[in-house]
Subunit: 438 residues, 3 copies
Amino acid sequence: MNSITTNYAPRDAAAREIFVELARRPIFDPHSHIDPHRPAARCLDEILGYHYYTELAHSAGMPADRVGPDSTPSSRVRAVAEYLPALENTAQYRWLLHIAQTFFGFEHNSINAANIGELEARADHEADGAAWDAAVWSRSKLDAVFLTNEFDDPLSGWDTSKYIPCLRVDDLVLKLHLPATVERLRAATGLDVGDFNGLRAALAAVFERFKVRGARACAISLPPDFVPSPAEPRRVVTPIRRALRGLPVRPDEVDDLRRTAFWTIAELCSDHKLPFDLMIGPIRGVYPAGVAGGRDLFDRRVSLHDYAPLFNHFADVAFPISTLTPDAAAELTAYAWIFPNVLPFGHWWYSNIPAFIAHDLRARLQALPATKLLGYYSDAYKLEFILPKFTMYRAILAESLAEECVRGRGWSTPRALELAQLVLWDNPRRLFGFDQSK
Amino acid sequence: MNSITTNYAPRDAAAREIFVELARRPIFDPHSHIDPHRPAARCLDEILGYHYYTELAHSAGMPADRVGPDSTPSSRVRAVAEYLPALENTAQYRWLLHIAQTFFGFEHNSINAANIGELEARADHEADGAAWDAAVWSRSKLDAVFLTNEFDDPLSGWDTSKYIPCLRVDDLVLKLHLPATVERLRAATGLDVGDFNGLRAALAAVFERFKVRGARACAISLPPDFVPSPAEPRRVVTPIRRALRGLPVRPDEVDDLRRTAFWTIAELCSDHKLPFDLMIGPIRGVYPAGVAGGRDLFDRRVSLHDYAPLFNHFADVAFPISTLTPDAAAELTAYAWIFPNVLPFGHWWYSNIPAFIAHDLRARLQALPATKLLGYYSDAYKLEFILPKFTMYRAILAESLAEECVRGRGWSTPRALELAQLVLWDNPRRLFGFDQSK
Amino acid sequence: MNSITTNYAPRDAAAREIFVELARRPIFDPHSHIDPHRPAARCLDEILGYHYYTELAHSAGMPADRVGPDSTPSSRVRAVAEYLPALENTAQYRWLLHIAQTFFGFEHNSINAANIGELEARADHEADGAAWDAAVWSRSKLDAVFLTNEFDDPLSGWDTSKYIPCLRVDDLVLKLHLPATVERLRAATGLDVGDFNGLRAALAAVFERFKVRGARACAISLPPDFVPSPAEPRRVVTPIRRALRGLPVRPDEVDDLRRTAFWTIAELCSDHKLPFDLMIGPIRGVYPAGVAGGRDLFDRRVSLHDYAPLFNHFADVAFPISTLTPDAAAELTAYAWIFPNVLPFGHWWYSNIPAFIAHDLRARLQALPATKLLGYYSDAYKLEFILPKFTMYRAILAESLAEECVRGRGWSTPRALELAQLVLWDNPRRLFGFDQSK
């Protein structure tokens, strides 16, 4: 352990033993937004530009334009640094300090306007290029990192055994009514997409290309008012035609289009045996004046009951589910308890806070088959964030297992570690098609 | 304490002292689904056939038909046993191990395919018949166990001072529009049930019979979209006539019928001074392909505000309330805080998980009159489950009282035990009409 | 520390050290219902008449009329005292015992029918008058206490540097359709209020008067079905005219009136740089047969998403937000994380229970800028309640900081205390316009 993992290490002896062992193991990260062409941050702006910092700094008073595209990287970094002292209590700040100390050799215990210059210099890896990517990968003991690829991503130019392609279908569902989406789909598939059958054929071509390139999952984030229902090809004849010709589509037609595209994609997940990650909850642009990436929120009045028809119809599709509003977590536990194809997937975004993780994890550990627990993913945009986020989660997992299994049930720590290994490694690897033998 | 209660016993000294004392006391169980003609399990299939095991095994990958009615008891047991290793982390597994060790003399620390034969042999009490029922009763220190009787249950053939009748009215409310229900009501009462007045008279006859036989409560489980409203006899004239004649009834008429039947039953609870247990939340058959008993879930968007007219109108009826979705628990605390006739009733089904119980219990202990806390019920189908479920709850209660009262307020452990006695014994006994003097 | 604060003091050394230091500091209370003309209780009836006691006693079985206006103070006190033994487990009882021991020199460890006479005698400060107010103020180390003033409060006759005026606009929004409200507005402003422009002018006059008198906030409590939307002066022409003339107004018109009045008031908050406290959730009179002050509850199906248009439009208005249903707390954390002008404000009413506070506070500490945390307010009607409520909160804050910051991150206790000082002092003082330099 270095000083940071020491700092994260639980005080309780059993929890500490579990944590220390977990910290030695490689990381399998089943969901991220890493750019495989430029996975690690080359400069501090790519670290502090993460929306968690810009939005918290903005929330604390920083004008949004100070980190806008018209600013220089260095001025953006300094803008955020001014507000970091107000964020020292947050989980996000803790990730940042972990990164600074682990990857950049930063030895101070806080980051602020006085020492931001030093950190900026230390974080400058522009000249190192891919060597720096490799260094972060190795230092973090990464094994595999899932990407989130747009449907027209060429999927070439990187090692797909390390950076695993994952088909993101947000645009194909939520923006299918926009001419730009149809154009992109035509360009990506070379197909005409003239009607529903053409659309289905184009979507199938997308899936085939992704499968060939090693994709292991399909993923989408859905707003709280989205309610899946079976595709109704006849009902969407007109709106599809209008969308394809770039004509305006009525709101109810947009809704029909969305539901039909979504259901069709679920059929393709079934055909191609791809898990379909559902990230349920965000409403985009709730706060339009916010910083980039920091404008989305949710309406907490959402229920997985809306998804029951989907789970029933696609019994052969695995649905790793993340829900955004923390108060919906207990419902997810109940649905994963009953539906074999519903799996609780990590701790997402506004729910990715230790207080919520600890509560949700405890319930999942007490109520769900060990083989269905998909512990954690980083959701990171830059490699550096994977280690601190997983370290936070590993500490909570270690404490939960020590309390629940070691003290609560008299398990040995090796037995508790076997459960941790399922949660962090075996389950996600098996579910996403690695180690099929297990 | 035997080894199991030792295993459950909290580590903290005060909590342990409270727990050990509670483990010595008899159990009063105010809600179960025990069959009084065959209360204990005669074979392992009756233990592992409990939906908690079949649904979790199914959730973990077991095909539903392996525990279907076409399988033999022994093959069903082996089917579930295959998946038990995946469930060792769950609260439900802990009950099972508790049962195996306490009632069946099973000495292994896990149950799996290798030793399921031994457990099956040990659990075979077919030959012992009623003697085994008595042995489990005595070993569990049971005092009284509430049943859940259909309205046409003959209510005879058992000791109603031990197995307490409770009138379940689900069918009378939710299935009144079905000819079968009306036929059963006619058969049970010998009354004609020709119109609303006939219906009311028949319902009254049901209540009278139950009261004479010692019923102590009326109970119903209600879906999240049910909204109580006053009976409207005129409005249901036509739908009742149609239902009585076996003719189809429109959905809105079904809804009118339900609300009128429910309100009428609440009036009868008032007339007969019976508490009306409301179990709010389940939607039946959300997952139709699930195992028997494992198909129901909920929509979390439910509020007790819908029940305010009921609570207001029937100020003299006690409403012990269980809510299904864990995130509704805090609202129940608030309603029980204000309405004298609303009482939080145990921790039900998807909420009956230690993480949720601990959180909900703490809030109830901090916010509600001690005399209104109705601690726990087993909801069990077989006697063997009462002890492990109550043991789980007693451990959480002991820890909560140690933290909240002993450490937090400087109470002595005997004083904390007095509160535990209220919660587990005095309150439910007084509310359900035992120990009227208290 | 006296015996009570000793009793509240956490056992953990770091938490205790933080708590003891916090207990030495003055209290800044940014929301209360204190009557500045009679701030402290002159008799025990003014303590036990607090709705927390009458409603809990009533919930435990006390008939409401025993504490009604037709009873004498002494009989009301005795009525509640009969039921106090049933409430010894509650957080509210703990406040009461704290008051009895700290302010009234009561030395028993419980309050009941046997010693209520002694407590009543000790609590009699009728003869002391303002000297008693000063004694409680000083003993509690109060610095400033916010009031909640009706819009037609003359705002004179007290020291507004100690008792800070705050404009309560509930009637101006929720009861604007009632002739009495319009009459009061005319009387308070001397303006004619003939139409929308007249209304706006009258509201502006109210704001101006409050600002001149030192008001530091505007506040309102809103029902869960209220959805803010921009003022539509044209749409309310008719309903305003009808309301002004005392004619009946249709429900949809009432709704239009409310939304227009609310939005207009938000504009005035912007004009006058006043924070606008939103207390979201209560429904008045859910339990009409309850005791005074104990009739309100909520519908938990509420979301801050409804308020996004307000937060977006009034980017320059600070909105300290309290939500009533405990399960909505996590959503508030997310909204305060993104919107610079949304601040989590204390722990309100049904959420003001240690179990909920601890959970919510932990999430806020982990997810929000330290400079946005508005720790606590008393919501008290009598000065005596401020100290015990703040003591409860300080103990939870101390425990949270010890766990989260001292043990979790290796902070020193002085550093943790700096954060506590922000939460309890610097932030609310800065936000409400004190210490502008900070």
